[in-house]
């Protein structure tokens, strides 16, 4: 637990798919996690470890199994549907297409995002004041998007779209930001730009963040806390002090120690070669 007070608590959160069939999969197995306010937690783990399921349960795509409980700022949100939970939790997806609407303009996308979790009425969605705000949040990206408010989002590159998705996820300052392998599909250069933008925004807004990644170096470089998932459990949870001294090899040792298995995930090893 960090020095800060708790922002989100997961207690006994499990998720079983295809329950009762021969293909039954336990994607989350009694996960306990206490996320402190302003924590920036990185989550690593191999394919099928439960990382995305964890984010889906936190953002309310589906509820956990009976007995599991999720509280945010002390409020029980376990049974709250995805769109109701959006007030507290926002998410940037792996695919830039998931977080933005292609056939709408940058301005329209941001107008939708600025009302996150609020009730919507029959007011015209955007005005001069909004446009000024949008320009001011887009300008620091250095991508020139602030001069292209009326451009269709479908005409932007993947990196530009993901940067916009990041702005859309953070513009209304949600309690919790979920980054779901959000740079995995970008080329190495754009990848680094978007990651640095993410860190900049998270630090500036003091946003509590959970970042899922396949890249161990990213997991080590960013955030104040590192967790590793395996077979639906969080098997490693390392806090700030210890984290800064860690290397990739230390992580592999920690994994082998915690899981009792030899570390043999080629995809994680291979990904260490990029940035």
């Amino acid at each position: 637990m960090g020095k800060n007070q708790s922002l989100m608590k997961l207690s006994k959160v499990s998720k079983v798919f295809l329950k009762g069939s021969v293909d039954e999969v336990t994607a989350l197995d009694n996960v306990m996690l206490d996320v402190g306010a302003e924590d920036f937690i990185t989550v690593i783990g191999s394919n099928g470890a439960g990382k995305t399921t964890l984010l889906n349960v936190i953002s309310g795509v589906y509820p956990p199994e009976k007995g599991g409980k999720i509280t945010i700022n002390g409020q029980d949100v376990t049974r709250l549907s995805e769109h109701k939970r959006a007030r507290y939790v926002s998410r940037v997806y792996q695919n830039p297409h998931t977080g933005t609407a292609a056939k709408m303009t940058i301005e329209e996308n941001l107008s939708l995002a600025i009302l996150r979790g609020q009730s919507r009425g029959l007011r015209i969605a955007s005005n001069k004041k909004c446009r000024e705000l949008f320009r001011s949040v887009l300008a620091p990206l250095g991508l020139g998007l602030e001069d292209r408010l009326s451009a269709m989002v479908g005409t932007l590159s993947g990196g530009q779209r993901q940067a916009l998705a990041l702005i859309m996820a953070t513009i209304s300052k949600p309690s919790l930001l979920l980054l779901d392998e959000h740079v995995a599909t970008l080329d190495p250069k754009t990848n680094r730009i978007v990651l640095e933008l993410s860190e900049m925004i998270v630090q500036k807004e003091k946003m509590t963040t959970i970042m899922v990644t396949h890249n161990m170096k990213h997991a080590l470089r960013y955030g104040n806390r590192l967790t590793m998932m395996h077979k639906g459990k969080i098997i490693v949870d390392i806090h700030q002090k210890k984290k800064s001294d860690l290397s990739v090899n230390d992580l592999i040792v920690a994994f082998e120690h915690a899981s009792g298995e030899r570390f043999a995930d080629d995809s994680i090893m291979l990904r260490n070669t990029d940035s």
């Binding site: 953002s59 549907s81 995805e82 769109h83 109701k84 959006a86 007030r87 926002s90 998410r91 997806y93 297409h97 998931t98 977080g99 933005t100 609407a101 292609a102 056939k103 709408m104 329209e108 996308n109 107008s111 939708l112 995002a113 009302l115 996150r116 979790g117 609020q118 919507r120 009425g121 029959l122 007011r123 015209i124 969605a125 955007s126 859309m168």
Partner: protein
């Protein structure tokens, strides 16, 4: 010359009236990406409600308004089947379309109701200005109504709710992630769409002098044809131009239809020709890619 003027004026009038059907089809198919087939039932529903009420002595304006509301209810039923009972959108529309056939017969008590001798909105407007109910008057009537409805839609699609509606068809996952229930936006959109379609049905019934239970057959294909013509011809960009292009598509479609009929096309072949038009328009992108040797994914089944 009279011949041409007559052709143009009828196309203008009908193009605007059926333009409301086209707007409805545009809202479901394009804005919401919800292929709604309720249209074939909600169009005659509007006619049935308006005609039956007018024959019963109700003020034609009120009767037309009730027709609009009846269409909203039909759309509401379809969207509830889809969002609350999770029935596939196409199937939900077909179920409502079939149900409406019986409902429309029940409303009218028989397969058609005449309003030829009744006071319609057109006759009442003429009376109001102390003139004869001519075609010119009904054109002016429709132009005014079209401007009002386009104005309202143009405003609505720019509001906070309207924006969420448009994003629903574009990226529903994102909309939910931003805190809007896509169930709600779907219900609003499909209801509004069928309200417009039923309004058109009510107006057409009053203009042609009767409501018939079969008057909705092929309405969805006609609406789609008009939307496609509008999009291909005017290449719109942005909400306002899209709305005008959709109405424009309906006008062009009616004009072509009028010309074809006058050149001796048997009216019985109309629906076949319209269907062929839509098939060609939908197949062109695939054929173009095939010619260029590009790959295209198989068509969706559901």
């Amino acid at each position: 010359m009279d011949y041409v003027i007559n052709l143009l004026s009828v196309s203008l009038y009908e193009g605007l009236a059926y333009g409301f059907v086209t707007l409805g089809v545009y809202i479901t198919f394009r804005v919401l990406a919800f292929p709604d087939l309720t249209v074939d039932g909600s169009f005659p529903l509007g006619g049935a409600v308006a005609a039956t009420l007018i024959v019963g002595g109700v003020n034609p304006w009120l009767a037309t308004l009730v027709a609009f509301i009846a269409g909203i209810c039909a759309g509401l039923a379809t969207s509830l089947l889809n969002t609350k009972l999770r029935i596939n959108a196409l199937l939900a529309g077909i179920l409502m379309m079939v149900s409406l056939y019986s409902i429309n017969l029940a409303i009218m008590g028989r397969s058609n109701v005449s309003v030829l001798r009744e006071v319609t909105v057109f006759k009442q407007t003429a009376q109001l200005f102390g003139i004869e109910p001519t075609t010119t008057l009904s054109i002016i009537f429709m132009v005014v109504l079209a401007i009002v409805i386009l104005g309202i839609l143009n405003w609505f699609l720019r509001t906070e709710i309207g924006l969420a509606l448009r994003a629903t068809g574009d990226n529903g996952q994102m909309v939910r992630g931003l805190g809007v229930s896509t169930d709600t936006t779907t219900i609003i959109g499909v209801s509004l769409s069928n309200g417009l379609v039923a309004l058109a049905g009510g107006l057409i019934a009053q203009k042609q002098g009767f409501s018939d239970v079969g008057m909705g057959i092929g309405m969805i294909v006609m609406g789609l044809a008009s939307v496609i013509i509008g999009e291909r011809l005017f290449r719109p960009r942005g909400v306002t131009t899209i709305l005008f292009a959709v109405i424009g598509g309906s006008l062009v479609y009616r004009l072509f239809l009028g010309i074809a009929l006058r050149l001796g096309l048997p009216p019985n072949n109309l629906k076949l020709i319209t269907a062929l038009l839509v098939i060609i328009a939908l197949a062109i992108p695939y054929i173009q890619k095939k010619v260029r040797g590009e790959w295209m994914p198989p068509a969706a089944r559901m």
